[in-house]
């Protein structure tokens, strides 16, 4: 972490990332990567670099998405959807409109939570922006590409190169090691075995699993499995990380840990969209988009997003038994 200079204007770090250079804000690999959460702040130990890991959220007082677009005017929105609709046809005459005209833009570096109860269309929306499905009508531009009318093979390429998925159930291949799971997207990208291996190692190290590369999912904890999934999502250098209830299968302590990883990635510029029904999870995001009955009913910036890292730090000090209830009590 010596490379990090907290005094740099804008909190930016200019580091040439070599294969073993830990990215600031992400756990370092030091042989003790089994540490929960972001490894730099080990429980009981002094935070190695509080300036990086305990960053307060950026105030976003008067900003709207539109203004953000203006500020980074040269930047192409990662997601731009216009009048997106999706209607499921069940049987002969039953038509179920799941999305009734969504228009939305997500700019690079945003951390958006898509919220809504079940049936609100948020899952449909996720499938559409995840290029797993095609809209009934409307346009979807992903990183400047119109993807709403692509063939299924072209969508597969988009998923491979521009998108990274993190699912509730991790969705790792059970019989493959963490390394092989992370290398899998690169297989479909057509990289050589050697390059796959070195890249997968690099990214696994990035998410703090440098010491568990040969473990199979069954030999990893839920949080570790989700980190593998995050590494797999990152490995092809996506423009967008899509997380569908990423903490849904985790206890709240581990959930905070994973959110801290996501926040740290976002701090480093990764665009993230989290789909969740859980308002607590949504509060880690910087922007919340609420769905109801296939429409966006609310789209606002979070004035003071929760910092998962800080919460994890305080949790780390708490006794580990009865964790859940304590968290519920301690955290508003």
């Amino acid at each position: 972490m010596a490379t990090n200079d907290p005094g740099l204007p804008g909190g930016e770090q200019i580091i040439a990332p070599g294969p073993n250079t830990p990215v600031p804000g992400l756990p370092a690999v030091d042989g003790q990567t089994t540490q929960p959460g972001l490894t730099v702040t080990k429980p009981g130990a002094a935070p190695a670099d509080p300036a990086v890991f305990n960053q307060p959220t950026v105030p976003q007082t008067a900003l709207t998405t539109v203004q953000q677009g203006n500020i980074w005017g040269k930047r192409v929105p990662v997601i731009a959807v216009r009048n997106l609709t999706k209607t499921y046809i069940l049987g002969k005459k039953t038509r179920v409109p799941a999305l009734r005209g969504i228009s939305l833009e997500v700019y690079p570096g945003e951390f958006v939570a898509v919220m809504g109860p079940s049936g609100s269309g948020k899952s449909t929306f996720m499938n559409l922006i995840g290029c797993l499905d095609r809209p009934t009508s409307g346009e979807y531009w992903l990183a400047g590409k119109l993807v709403s009318r692509l063939s299924s093979d072209e969508l597969a390429d988009i998923r491979n190169r521009l998108l990274g998925f993190v699912f509730q159930g991790y969705n790792l291949l059970g019989r493959a090691s963490a390394l092989k799971n992370v290398a899998l997207p690169m297989v479909y990208a057509g990289l050589s075995a050697r390059e796959r291996d070195s890249r997968a190692r690099k990214v696994l190290t990035l998410v703090g699993l440098g010491g568990r590369m040969s473990h199979k999912p069954a030999e990893l904890s839920g949080g570790q499995q989700q980190r593998v999934a995050i590494a797999r999502a990152l490995v092809n250098g996506p423009s967008l990380l899509l997380a569908d209830e990423p903490t849904g299968n985790l206890d709240s302590r581990t959930g905070v840990e994973i959110m801290a990883v996501l926040q740290a990635l976002n701090d480093q510029g990764l665009t993230i969209v989290v789909v969740t029904h859980d308002p607590k999870v949504a509060n880690y995001a910087r922007r919340q988009v609420a769905f109801l009955d296939g429409r966006v009913v609310r789209d606002e910036l979070v004035l003071a997003p929760r910092s998962a890292q800080e919460e994890w730090d305080s949790l780390a000090k708490a006794p580990s038994d009865g964790v859940k209830t304590q968290i519920e009590e301690e955290l508003p």
């Binding site: 990215v23 105030p59 390429d157 998923r159 190169r161 998925f165 250098g237 480093q268």
Partner: protein, 450 residues
Amino acid sequence: MSRSTPPPAGRAVQPRATRLTKPLPPPVRESPLESILQQLHIRGRRPGTMVSASVGSALEAIWENRMRSLLTMLGIFIGVGAVIAALTLTQGASTYVTSRIESLGINTIIVYPGTSNNRGTSQGSGSVQTLTQHDVQSLANIPHVMAVSPIITVNAQVAYGSQNWSTTVEGVNTQFQSIQGWTIAQGLWFSNVDDLQGSSVALLGDTVAHNLFDASGANPVGQMIRIGTQVFRVGGVLAAKGSGQDDVVFVPFNTARIRLKNTTTVDQILVEADITNNVSQVQQSVITVLEQNHHIQRGASDDFGTITFVQFLQSSQQATQALTLLLVGIAAISLTVGGIGIMNIMLVSVTERTHEIGIRMSIGARRRDIRNQFLVEALVLCLAGAVVGTLLGLLIGFSVTTLFQFPFVVTTTTIALPVVVSVAITIIFGLYPAIQASRLDPIEALRNDE
């Protein structure tokens, strides 16, 4: 995205304006992760990497279900093994028969006395002795005839000292040696003078020589033996020809005619044509000449018959072909059954691994990637079965041909045919499950969570 330098603790709100006034030159704006992501960002696709990766994942999947894979492989294994065993066997048999016929002389025409037709009742071949020495001389004048030899056959007891052996004694002329391609291990073939004078000289086949002389260890050449009641001098011993042809004693034709059988007729005549292509022409001439000699009317049936080894060869080859077709047909059926087995298992595998297919699709597997993965898996199963089956087939083929003392013949076709057919069958039967897998909807597949 970029955050301003925070105070070390707390969530102090920093005025946005401060941040906005800052110049944001691109290199500064790019965080380490962004540059990593940019490095990672995939641009090109290198062909061929999919294949090795598919083989790897196929091997994993097969190993995962070892027992099931083994049973699936068994179908192809048995099929390929059966085809190869059948092919080596029939090819060995065919080679054996061909070589035997060729050792008898492929250009040879055998003339045998015909059947007598006694009031409509056939008396069987050789029931009348119609061939004469005159016939032999006439046949020698036919164009394209290289050699002619009469044969008189006697079954007799041969004895040397206390050793006895019952064998076939054939009276032949000097040309007989070249017609049947006999080579002499010791001594000499008898001369024309021996034949004219009816000398008591005998040439022993390898089997006979061993049976008479092995016990005493004496050198057969020059020894006196008894054939029937007559005493003969051993003029030579023939080199072994194998395949049961060596249990024979040759004596000069006239010696046999006068001293062993006392007859004026000839049991068989061997006619050798100069080249194989002339055999049937010579055969026709032989028939014409003998019909003239025997005064056979037009339309009447001949009192002799001719046979050539070309016909033997053709009929034996036809028989082998029929046998090969039959065996390969049966083996093809078992290969097809093996292919159905592979299809069955692949369908099960696709159903079981729907979730995995969903995962692979979500991270960028195209339809053809999924299809190829399952196709490669089926092919790996098939090839593994085919390789083991090939070894087993060769082993069976080797043991059986050795048992029957056939030559062990393996051609490229023997191995290539079943392997190619099994691969083709696997592609045909494996394509359906693979396409099924590739057509899955990624969302549905992902939802299928064990």
